[in-house]
């Protein structure tokens, strides 16, 4: 009951957050010191900053990474599929909230061509720890060990969770940073599944 109410409140807040997200992102990245008088603390100001480059509408960067059990998995393995590329970390609370949702969606939409890949950002946590966190979240979709290069290819991934919804042609149709509502995630998945179905995967895939 308490959890339900909390989730409702959070969902309402998230709509507001969606409007504020760009501003907040700018604020967090643009901290400016204003020199003070000698011996006095500096002041902190926050201001706007340009938006990060987006991959939306571009071919998803290809990658070939290792799973927890040592298998190689490449984005190109999933030509013709819709792929949700989700970056997460063991220390990231919001990431672990949405991972069970992804698991649900994997089961529900696998028949329609959805593949979910979880790319763990903090590989130094160790495979055992990563596996425990994934297991606790109920995840059975592939967990790939991000190699640093893939984070750079996807814009740096300086916010977690970060997800890229890749359509059947290998084009990023949506990208999100931070935890969003479950229904919004599902809408992005549907968009990726519905988009680009008539052509062969290209580019990174």
């Amino acid at each position: 009951m308490i959890v339900g109410i909390a989730l409702m409140l959070w969902a309402g807040w998230h709509n507001l957050r969606a409007r504020r997200l760009a501003m907040q992102k700018a604020e967090e990245n643009h901290v400016v010191l204003v020199p003070g008088a000698a011996g006095q603390p500096g002041q902190v100001e926050e201001g706007d900053e340009g938006e990060e480059p987006s991959l939306r509408g571009k071919v998803a960067p290809g990658f070939s990474l290792t799973t927890l059990d040592g298998k190689k998995v490449s984005l190109s393995d999933f030509k013709g599929k819709a792929v949700l590329v989700n970056f997460w970390a063991t220390w990231c609370g919001p990431c672990k909230v949405e991972m069970p949702w992804f698991q649900e969606f994997q089961k529900e939409y696998a028949g329609q061509g959805l593949v979910i890949l979880g790319l763990v950002d903090d590989v130094d946590a160790g495979k055992d720890t990563i596996a425990k966190v994934a297991q606790k979240a109920g995840v059975t979709y592939p967990i790939l060990l991000a190699d640093g290069k893939v984070q750079k290819a996807y814009g740096g991934v300086d916010v977690l969770p970060m997800s890229f919804y890749v359509d059947r042609n290998g084009v990023v149709v949506e990208e999100t940073a931070g935890l969003g509502p479950k229904d919004e995630i599902e809408a992005h998945i549907k968009k990726a599944i519905a988009s680009g179905g008539g052509a062969t995967a290209a580019g990174g895939q």
Partner: protein
């Protein structure tokens, strides 16, 4: 003896060369370039102490508005504690840093998971014994920040604490 704890504010990304840093104490810092991607600042402060005596150096930090960082003793081993590391400095004996208690915090989407965090201003105390003369302690604050719905990779806030003993 008077030890003047001058200030080294922010990371080296803000400050440029160390030679430039000595001339860039509180009040004379140049405006930093944009996009620092720092969620914690190291705030300037002066101290007057006697030489050769154990002195608590108070290092003040400020978490950017709307963010939190894990305390030094987070409630889960998966979480990354805030931790200060200071390099040995000639003429200065440093003791282990003393951290403040954190505040209880929960993400609205996960109210059952209580966290222990720092928000706003917090202070780390470092007992030191300094000899006469000028001293610089190099160090870094390791932290990992989140806001209400997203988290950010761990960072090292590189800093220099500059003492002038009189």
């Amino acid at each position: 003896m008077r030890v003047r704890l001058a200030v080294a504010v922010l990371s080296l990304a803000f400050l440029g060369t160390s030679s430039g840093m000595r001339a860039s104490q509180a009040g004379t810092l140049p405006m930093p370039p944009p996009s620092p991607k720092s969620y914690v600042l190291y705030v300037a402060e002066d101290h007057d102490v006697r030489a050769g005596r154990r002195t608590i150096v108070e290092l003040r930090f400020r978490v950017a508005n709307g963010f939190h960082v894990n305390s030094h003793t987070p409630r889960s081993e998966l979480l990354i504690p805030t931790a200060l590391t200071l390099d040995p400095a000639t003429g200065v004996t440093e003791e282990a840093a003393e951290y403040p208690a954190g505040k209880s915090y929960t993400f609205s989407f996960d109210p059952s998971n209580k966290l222990d965090v720092y928000t706003g201003d917090f202070m780390v105390k470092v007992p030191v014994v300094a000899s006469a003369g000028a001293h610089t302690i190099h160090g870094a604050l390791h932290y990992q920040a989140c806001d209400r719905a997203a988290c950010y990779p761990p960072k090292d806030l590189v800093l220099q604490v500059i003492f002038t003993a009189r």
